[in-house]
Every structure is written in structure tokens, then in C-alpha cells.
Amino acid sequence: MGKMTIEDLARIRDAARYKIALRQGAGRVKINVHMGTCGIAAGAREILTTVMKEIESRDLHDVIITNSGCAGLCSQEPMMTVEVLGEPAPVKYVFLTADKVKKIIDSHVLKGLAVKEYALALGSETTR
């Protein structure tokens, strides 16, 4: 590019800022996909990909996506835990499908309304 102006500086900063924020571990929401052997066998990889795609397509920059091992409820996989900053407890979702993931992101991540019918229990675990 040619000579930079102060506006260019702000543009570059904003474009790269979210990427860097994630590296610092800063985020409003943390989605943890459970990926033990059981989870993977039940389709957790597909769930993880869906989560990433949906976050991307909604242009969300404050969501940390991470994965963890088996949560001990192998029969209800694939599972994920959604933790929203400021909410009293994280929510664990079970028997996930791509459609359920979309709905959870629209409702829980965007509006702060947990999708009760997909949830296992409220307040079962903290990941940070």
C-alpha cells in the first residue's frame, strides 16, 4: 500500500484487533466442545466445525472456541458447554446436531437466552 493516513491506521487496527484479542484469552463467550474419544465418535468434530462456521458467518469476534476431553456423560455426546461472561453458570448442551448449534448460537450467544430444551443442566461446571 502507499502512504498511510491516520484513518488507515485505525482500519488496520480494527481488522486485526479481534484476532489478537483471542490470543490474549479475552472473550465474552466461551464455547467448549467436548472432544473425548466418545465425543469424536458421536460427531464432535462436525459440531466444532459448525460452531466455527456459524461464529464466522455472524461476524462475531468475542467468542472463544475451545475443546476439552470427555465430560463423563459419553451416552449424551456430542456435547458442548457455553459460558457467557456475567452469567451465573455455564450451560452444558447435549445430543447436539448442526441445527441445534445454530439455534444455540442465535439464542444463547447472541441474545443471552439459554436453550433449555437442549440443555443437560444449568451450573454444572466452570472452565475458567
Binding site: K3, M4, I12, A16, I20, M35, M52, K53, I55
Partner: protein, 608 residues
């Protein structure tokens, strides 16, 4: 698609020397093999600081810290952590005195007790990508300065912050800038001193390696303040990674028009040239450094006229150290009040009235967590060595810490609660220096350590003035004599006399501070010197000519059954005895290397 996970691989000199680039390649290969390349990004960063456990990597956003990585660990790590979401316990850090590993970087005491200001971007950005620096607020300070502040306002802000030179002298930066701005001359220069030469010091190298743009931005702001259009970075040629990243940073800044003419569309021109130094310690001295840039031999001159008045090519020149420059953008961005709230003293009326901000130290020697740290001014030495540094290696006893490199002094245990700031360190005979911190334990002989540092300054003396050239040589001769058991009590008095003479009459600070290690050890560890000259003994058992090794025949036979390991390992064939017999050392043949002492599993060997 955006990445879900970043693998931040340390690419500082320490980790690179331990093959971190191979780790990085292997990680990339494994990530590809597992089809994760759309989700996981491998990033190389500058020095993370915890050099003791490199090669290392931090997994973000989880903040999991992996240490001592080997290429062969990588496939397992990728499968476990990135696919199954289970941190690999065996590769996590465990403090030396504990058994349970600490997964998160922010929970490790080494990191938890630091305050990052100069090193705020370390491990978070790829230093070779200007966009990542900008994303963390880079060049925002420059934009603010160019659009909203006059040069005088910039100087006022720096003065109010209480920032003082981080290269060793501790001269108030704002005062220096102001004098330089008002000095008579048609052209002015700014210089970044990156000629870091102290043994055991690597602050400047690591700062440039992890965040080169912070240094450039600081220089840009300084140039605007004093009215300069030309700057130099003087850096040692033996810092290949720092040099490379500096070149990359300058090229990228030029491409963006952040160096050159009409910067950010304003009426401000500035560019930077890099000059490589050949590695002479004296070239870290400002006048010698400028002579070297001009192409003359690197020798200092008497400073009746300061370099801010007549420096490079006899023009007003503002020279600051790497760390000083790197502080500048943060001060402009966050304000002098924020900066002066960190540290000791009060600088509101007197620029020398306190030590503000943070200081970067390279912690080395006999401490568990060697590495690069940044701490607020006023922290105690005890906290640095025992909390951040994790205490002394192998549970041994702390003896002294050398601050300020060969120009500084040794500080004993009784002064460990000293506040780390310019004034306090100078009061006890040492100095802040550029920030080297070498820790010694009970096995180090203080006479021998003083001799080591003095032999360094003696070798590096440029020879221009007699006190330094001849004086340090004579001091070294005396120390050689003492460590060989030939010293007398008069020698100690002579050492002190010579030291004071050199301090008072040397041309530059190299000579003026060279006797400090000797003076402080004489002051705090005089009994060790006396043991050497009176009893001809080295209490730490470090001076070879003053010790003898012997084998306790009873232990050798009863416990070790004459195992013969010592005899097998002795390079001089000085150990006599057959297997299943008690062994003995032939003092005529023994070279006192101590190998037998180290290999004996039964503690049958004694040293006196």
C-alpha cells in the same frame, strides 16, 4: 475462517538455539496432517521470557503453557490437546519445589508477578508483522503526538512521567530531550543504543526480538520532539535475530509510510539507519558509539561538552537505550500520570526524585527460573530472586546478586529487601545498569567472581586513558595473586586504593565503574578475601590452587566397596586403588578438576 486456536511458539534467541523453529515446522506439519489448518494457526513470537524452560509454546486462547518441547512430542501434543482437548500433563511446567503441574501461563509465579509495559506485546504478536503491532495499539501514540501535540508538549509529558535512561546512567529522559532540542545546530540526530555488552544481559536483544516497532515508534516520537529527521540504531552484529527483525520492521514501516517523508500526512520527515557494531563493550558508551558510527575507532572522549550539544558529527544528538525508547509510546498513549503512578519517589518537582515505571532484567546465574523479566521499580531483590526467579538451583544457599553487569556490584543477602531503584542500588555500591542480574550461590567464590568481571572490563578497556588501561590490569594481577594463594594483607589495601584512583580518574564510565565488583565484594565479603590471604583457603572451594581433594578410606570401603568409578573418570590418573579396596588421591598428579567429587555416589570424597 478465523482460527479457534493459536499456537504461540517462542522464537527468541534462547528458544531458537534450542530448535524451536523445528518445533514450529513439526507443529505445522502435524496440524496439516490432522486437517486442522483452517482452525489452528501456528505463530512465531518474540522472547517469551522464561528462557530456562525453552523451547516453549503457549496455546491461546486457553493460555496453556508448554515447556521443554521436543520434536517427538509434537504428534502426541496435537492429538491430545487440539483434537481431544486434553492438555498434555508431562509437557506442562511444574515448579521445582512442587509436584503438581501448572497448566495456565498466568498462574505460573514467574509470569504472575511481572508487570509488562515495555514487553507488553511479547508472546502476543508476531514481531515480523506490522499489522499485529498496530492491532495492539501500535503507532497510535505517534498519530496522537503528530495530530494533537506540539514538540514542547511531548517533552513536557516525558519530563512529567519521570522516565529515566534505562541503559545504566538513569539520566532523566525529558531533560535530555529538552537540552538537545534547544542546543544550537542546523541538524539533530536521534540514536538508539542497542550495543548491549554486559555478560549475562539480554534485555535489549529480547525487546527488539519481540517488539521492534515499539522501539521505532519511540524513536519517531523522540525525533518529532527534538526536531530530528535522521536516526540510527547501533546494534551488535552478534544479534542476528534482533538485527533481522529490526530490518524487517524498518522495511514494513517504510512501506506504510511510517518512516520517510510526510509521515501520516503531516509535516514530519524521519528515517532510520541501522549500524552494526563489532562487539566492543566500550562502544556502548555514548561518545565511543558515535565515533564508531562516524567510522572512527570506538573510543570515548572527555565530556566537557555533552553529546546533546555536540554529538554525532558534532551535531546535537539525543541517544537513548532500546528500553527507554520502547517506553515512550506507552507514556504518550496512557499519559505521564499513569506512568509515574508505577515506581518509587516523587518526580513532580525533581526529575531525579524517583524511579518510575518498570525495569526489564535478565535474570541469570544460579537461579531456577533464568529468563527475561519486567518488574515495577521499587520491587525487592528478594521478590525477584525467590518469587519470580523461583529461588536458588538445587536448594543451595544464596550468596549474592550482581546487578548492573561488570559495572555494578555484588549485593549480599542482608540487603535483599532493598528496593530496586536507581538511588538505592547506587547507595549500596552497585547500580541499576542496563539490567543484568547474575545470581550466585554458596559455591561461588566472591574473589573469583570479582576477578571474572574485572577480567572482562580489563579485556574490553579501549586503552585510551591510563587509569583504566593500566589500573585494571594491575588490579587483575593482584586478584590472580590472591586466588593463587600468594596474596598478602597489603594487597587488599592496595586493591582499594587502586579502585578509588580508577573510579576518580578514568575518562569514561567503563573505567569509572570497573572496580565496582571488587569494591563491593571487599565491602560485603571481606572475610572471603581474608581467608584467601591469611589462611590460604577458598571458603567456597572454587579457587583450584587453594583446595585439596581427598578420599575418606572408611566411607570408600564401607559404603562404596571401592567402586572404582572415581578412578575411571579421573582425567589425570591421579586416583590409586583397585576395585573393592579403599582408594586414594595422589596430590602430585591431581589437577583439582573436581570430577571425582561429582561422580562419587557415596560422598567419600572431601574437599578442603
Amino acid at each position: 475462517m478465523a482460527y479457534r486456536t493459536y499456537l504461540m511458539v517462542c522464537a527468541g534467541t534462547g528458544c531458537v538455539a534450542n530448535q524451536s523453529m523445528k518445533i514450529k515446522e513439526r507443529l505445522e506439519a502435524e496440524v496439516h496432517k490432522r486437517g486442522l489448518q483452517e482452525e489452528v494457526s501456528v505463530v512465531t513470537t518474540g522472547c517469551n521470557g522464561f528462557c530456562a524452560v525453552g523451547p516453549l509454546m503457549v496455546v491461546q486462547p486457553d493460555g496453556i503453557f508448554y515447556q521443554l518441547l521436543k520434536e517427538t512430542d509434537i504428534p502426541y501434543l496435537v492429538e491430545e490437546h487440539l483434537i481431544k482437548g486434553r492438555p498434555v500433563k508431562e509437557l506442562l511446567y511444574t515448579p521445582p519445589t512442587e509436584k503438581v503441574p501448572i497448566p495456565k501461563m498466568s498462574d505460573i509465579p514467574f509470569f504472575a508477578d511481572q508487570t509488562l509495559l515495555v514487553l507488553r506485546n511479547r508472546g502476543l504478536i508476531n514481531p515480523e508483522k506490522i499489522d499485529e503491532y498496530i492491532a495492539r495499539g501500535g503507532y497510535e501514540a505517534l498519530a496522537k503526538v503528530l495530530t494533537t501535540m506540539t514538540p514542547d508538549e511531548v517533552i513536557k509529558e516525558i519530563k512529567a512521567s519521570g522516565l529515566r535512561g534505562r541503559g545504566g546512567g538513569g539520566f532523566p529522559t525529558g531533560v535530555k530531550w529538552e537540552t538537545c532540542k534547544h542546543a544550537a545546530g542546523d541538524k539533530r540526530y536521534v540514536i538508539c543504543n542497542a550495543d548491549e555488552g554486559d555478560p549475562g544481559a539480554f534485555m535489549d536483544r529480547s525487546t527488539i526480538e519481540s517488539d521492534p516497532h515499539a522501539v521505532l515508534e519511540g524513536m519517531l516520537i523522540g525525533a518529532y520532539a527534538i526536531g530530528s529527521s535522521e536516526g540510527y540504531v547501533y546494534i551488535r552484529n552478534e544479534y542476528p535475530i534482533a538485527l533481522e527483525r529490526l530490518h524487517v520492521a524498518i522495511t514494513q514501516a517504510r512501506e506504510y509510510g511510517l518512516l520517510g517523508t510526510k509521515i501520516l500526512g503531516k509535516d514530519f520527515d524521519f528515517d532510520i539507519r541501522v549500524v552494526r557494531g563489532a562487539g566492543a563493550f566500550v562502544c556502548g558508551e555514548s561518545t565511543a558509539l558515535m565515533a564508531s558510527i562516524e567510522g572512527r575507532p570506538g573510543e570515548p572522549r572527555a565530556k566537557y561538552v555533552h553529546t546533546v550539544e555536540r554529538g554525532l558529527w558534532d551535531k546535537p544528538t539525543c541517544l537513548n537505550n532500546v528500553e527507554t525508547w520502547a517506553n515512550v509510546p506507552q507514556i504518550m498513549l496512557r499519559g505521564s500520570q499513569w506512568f509515574s503512578s508505577i515506581g518509587t519517589g516523587d518526580v513532580s518537582n525533581d526529575p531525579w526524585g524517583g524511579s518510575k515505571g518498570t525495569k526489564v532484567f535478565s535474570l541469570s546465574g544460579k537461579v531456577n527460573n533464568t529468563g527475561l523479566i519486567e518488574v515495577p521499580m521499587g520491587i525487592t531483590l528478594r521478590k525477584i530472586i525467590f518469587d519470580i526467579g523461583g529461588g536458588i538451583k538445587e536448594g543451595k544457599k544464596f550468596k549474592a546478586v550482581q546487578t548492573g553487569g561488570p559495572s555494578g556490584g555484588f549485593i549480599p543477602e542482608s540487603l535483599l529487601d532493598l528496593s530496586v531503584d536507581y538511588e538505592e542500588l547506587t547507595k549500596v555500591g552497585s547500580m541499576m545498569g542496563s539490567g543484568g542480574m547474575v545470581v550466585t550461590d554458596e559455591d561461588n567464590c566472591m574473589v573469583d567472581m570479582a576477578k571474572y568481571f574485572l577480567s572482562f572490563t580489563q579485556t574490553e578497556s579501549c586503552g585510551k586513558c591510563i587509569p583504566c588501561r593500566e589500573g585494571t590490569k594491575r588490579m587483575l594481577d593482584i586478584l590472580e595473586k590472591i586466588t593463587a594463594g600468594e596474596g598478602t594483607e597489603e594487597d587488599l589495601a592496595l586493591l582499594e586504593e587502586l579502585s578509588n584512583m580508577i573510579v576518580e580518574s578514568s575518562l569514561c564510565a567503563l573505567g569509572g565503574s570497573a572496580p565496582n565488583p571488587v569494591l563491593t565484594t571487599l565491602k560485603y565479603f571481606r572475610e572471603e578475601y581474608e581467608a584467601h590471604v591469611k589462611e590460604k583457603k577458598c571458603p567456597a572451594h572454587a579457587c583450584r590452587k587453594l583446595i585439596t581433594y581427598a578420599i575418606d578410606p572408611a566411607i570408600c570401603l564401607d559404603k562404596g566397596h571401592g567402586c572404582h568409578v572415581c578412578a575411571k573418570n579421573c582425567p589425570d590418573g591421579a586416583i590409586v586403588g583397585e576395585t573393592k579396596q579403599a582408594h586414594a588421591i595422589d596430590p602430585m598428579k591431581c589437577n583439582k578438576c573436581g570430577i571425582c567429587y561429582d561422580v562419587c555416589k557415596f560422598d567419600a570424597i572431601t574437599v578442603e
